[in-house]
């Protein structure tokens, strides 16, 4: 038995030896979630956006910290309040050989609103554009209706396809926000079968098969630094167990999102390593600021105690965030003091907005002062399959609230049920998460604490119905301020005001882990993307 095994191993090693140099050029990745399409404009979804960045690039790139850097545009600046000028990169060619210019950008923006059957369009990121001007093919001037400081950020979210490769003569495109006339566009299927997958990115799409995976090969004509891998295969391994097992078995070199409880085992295995970095997603508790009586609150004679700022403070300081991070999240999270991690745009510097201090005695005193010396009953609504250990985190909070005299129940349901019930205001307190897509503070403030106002798109996810004119005013001013320094200060101020009013209780920022062999290195990204071009061979 042993001898046979040894012989087999020796044979396998001998057979593998000549092939080693080629193997070193290939990277095999186990994906935690699968892209729904290779069409860069079909579905605004994490896995799709991640795949898009390999093949199609945008004017503006985002680095590991979601800071902007020049990609297909070499520079950008506001000309005045409603016009931005982008200088484009010279000498970039699409993979079919056609050269990149301003008309390709316009063509891409033209296609975005009309992608058939799209589950989620990218128009969120292009609707600010009212007109384009092309003084020369390498300069693009973008018009907006009002001051729009987020334009460069939003231009980092969608990929650029070639007009010429699709038989469209660039200068003849007549742009209008409502559509650009009768232009020929490739179909989504043409991207999936590879025929229309013509981009400027570091990789070319060799094949895309739902359920089987994506094959990428290096783009020999890439304008930037060549990708370190000749070939990249990305296999969807959506169940945690098999994904980790594939890494252990050597079937893949790199996996996304290894489950928390397996991290120690991976770290302890020779030849494997874990890399982790903070993400832009905050896990928070939102409270009902409006309804009276509030659903599922007992023992208050119909009053809503959450309207009292002292009660909200008590609930916050009763939570031992470090214990949750340590025990429930296995250390793979960072306690939060505001809605965006330190160092990101509009967040405070490290240490300036620390997590609320854990102080159960003061919490009890605050409750007594607010007129609830005997507490009240409350129920936390939470999904049980959406965020990392979501229901367990809610349960830990329930433990801590029970200790200050607030008997707490947990209503844990599957995500789809949770979100529809939350949107019907069925919870007094709910646990949820928010990832700042744009990487700046305006995103969580606008979505979670700004007064609900569908016309302005404020408070879309503010299902606690918090309303504070001061926060709204600061946000509105920030969103109309093009100067970065002034905007950052306004956003910080808005965050301070909201946190001082205990409008929402941030718990922690999720930390994204990646696991890989020690033959490769990866710098963790705030946006949680896995980008093969940034996975470097070690040593």
């Amino acid at each position: 038995m042993t001898l046979r095994y040894l012989r087999l191993t020796a044979f396998a090693v001998a057979a593998a030896l000549p092939a080693l140099p080629a193997v070193a050029q290939e990277l095999r990745i186990g994906l935690a979630s699968e892209p729904s399409s290779a069409d860069p404009h079909f579905h605004n979804l994490g896995p799709n956006n991640q795949l898009r960045r390999n093949v199609f690039e945008s004017l503006v790139g985002t680095d590991e910290q979601q800071k902007l850097f020049p990609q297909l545009a070499v520079s950008w600046r506001p000309l005045d309040d409603t016009r931005w000028e982008f200088k484009l990169r010279e000498g970039v060619t699409f993979s079919d050989g056609s050269t990149f210019d301003a008309y390709d950008v316009i063509y891409s923006v033209c296609r975005i609103p009309g992608v058939p059957d799209s589950p989620s369009l990218f128009t969120t990121y292009t609707k600010a554009v009212t007109d384009f001007e092309v003084p020369d093919p390498m300069t693009l001037i973008v018009h907006t209706a009002s001051p729009y400081p987020l334009l460069p950020t939003e231009f980092s979210t969608w990929g650029i396809i070639s007009a010429k490769a699709n038989g469209v003569d660039g200068p003849s495109i007549a742009f209008s926000p409502d559509g650009c006339g009768d232009l020929a566009y490739p179909e989504t299927q043409a991207f999936n079968d590879g025929s229309a997958a013509i981009g400027t990115g570091p990789f070319l799409l060799e094949s895309f098969r739902r359920g089987e995976g994506v094959e990428l090969v290096r783009n020999p004509g890439y304008w930037g630094e060549a990708a370190p891998w000749e070939r990249v295969s990305m296999k969807p391994l959506t169940s945690d167990g098999p994904r980790v097992a594939a890494l252990f078995a050597g079937d893949v070199d790199f996996i996304e999102n290894p489950p928390l409880q397996d991290l120690d085992r991976i770290r302890g295995e020779a030849g494997l390593q874990v890399v982790q970095g903070i993400s832009n997603r905050v896990i928070y508790l939102h409270m009902d600021h409006k309804q009276e009586p509030s659903p599922m609150i007992t023992g208050t004679d119909g009053k809503n105690p959450l309207k009292d700022v002292r009660v909200r403070e008590a609930l916050s300081i009763a939570i031992n965030r470090d214990a949750i991070v340590d025990r429930i999240m296995g250390g793979v999270a960072v306690a939060a003091g505001e809605l965006l991690p330190a160092g990101m745009f509009g967040a405070h510097e490290d240490g300036q907005m620390p997590p609320a201090p854990y102080d159960p005695d003061r919490a009890k005193a605050l409750l007594a002062e607010a007129g609830y010396p005997d507490g009240f009953g409350i129920t936390i609504g939470t999904p049980n399959d959406r965020y990392i250990n979501d229901a367990q985190v809610a349960q830990a909070v329930a433990q801590m609230w029970a200790r200050i005299g607030i008997p707490t129940e947990i209503d844990a349901v599957t995500a789809s049920t949770f979100f529809s019930r939350r949107n019907a205001y069925e919870f007094s307190v709910y646990l949820a998460g928010w990832g700042a897509g744009t990487g700046e503070m305006s995103s969580p403030i606008k979505a979670l604490v700004a007064t609900r106002d569908s016309d302005r798109g404020y408070g879309g996810t503010n299902r606690g119905q918090y309303s504070n004119p001061e926060v709204d005013d600061l946000l509105t001013r920030a969103l109309a301020t093009v100067d970065d320094a002034a905007r950052q200060e306004l956003l910080r101020e808005a965050s301070r005001v909201a946190m001082a009013d205990w409008a929402i209780l941030p718990l922690h920022f999720e930390v994204t882990p990646w696991a890989m062999t020690d033959k490769v290195m990866y710098a963790p990204r705030v946006d949680q993307y896995t980008l093969p071009a940034s996975i470097k061979p070690a040593g």
Partner: protein, 346 residues
Amino acid sequence: MTGMPAPEPSRGWSADSLPWLLAGLMGVSTLALVAGPGWSSLPARVLLLLGFIALAAHLLRGKGRQFFNGPVAYLAAGSLLLLVVLALFASEIAPQNPYDLRQLDIMDGRLPPGSTTFDGAMTYRLGTDEQGRDILSGILYGLRVSLSVAIVATLVAMAIGIVVGIYAAWAGGRTEAILMRLVDLQLSFPSILVALMLMAAFGRGLDKVVIALIIVQWAYYARTVRGTALSEARKEYIDAARGLGLPVRRIIFRHLLPNCIPPLLVISTVQIANTIVLESSLSFLGVGVPITRPSLGLLIANGYDYMLSGQYWMSMYPGVALLAIVASINLVGDRLRDTLNPRLRR
């Protein structure tokens, strides 16, 4: 039919009605305990235990030797009695109340068996789960949830099944056809699937689990009762009762029904075990009991994520407890069937 001993006609509220009385009493007191004083009433629980023993003794009256035919029977009956006692008196035996969040401390989470609390006040003999819940206490309380849910659901489902089955058998014709096709329809869906859909619609909660389990189980009893009632109704003693001009109500309740009991008792013991498994599956899948009041299935689910990382105790011990209760109920049910079913009598 030939060679079978003729069933004795029942003579009203005699000894044959006792198991029904006892079962009903146990169901009512279980219901009262679950819904009312929340298990805090010690006399009620002692009464329940006595009822359980009396019911067993009554069923086996004069057949003890036949039932206890070997070591397996002793083992099964003994472990069932032990588990029932443990479940009934969990609050007295368990070192911690795992449902009182104030008694849990996440700083004590995922401790291996034999660890003590920070102040050494108590020992986690079977370790803790990630919330710092003592696994041993969790199992004792979880047994109580699993058993009471299963017993209540089984008794109510049996009651519904008896009514539907007898009515169908007695009414015949179109009514019977409609009712029995309904039963067929119900039985053609896997019960776990139906229960999952119901729970998805209801939401979490003990009461909702019980309702879902009743809905998926009544059909078994309806079909069995109808079959037995049809064959009993053709027998001479029913003809005799009819010939005497007794009212229909009296024939059904005093003559037909008591003679349909033995097969039902056998089904219901096996069915209680099935119900426990079904409830555990629902909780394991995250749609059963509330997560702050775990049953055995939910305890197993909580520890499941940690199985591969070597922290086996969170899932394994509740799993062993589940196995023990299901196996002992099934073995006792098997013995009961062999003992009570005259067809198998040698």
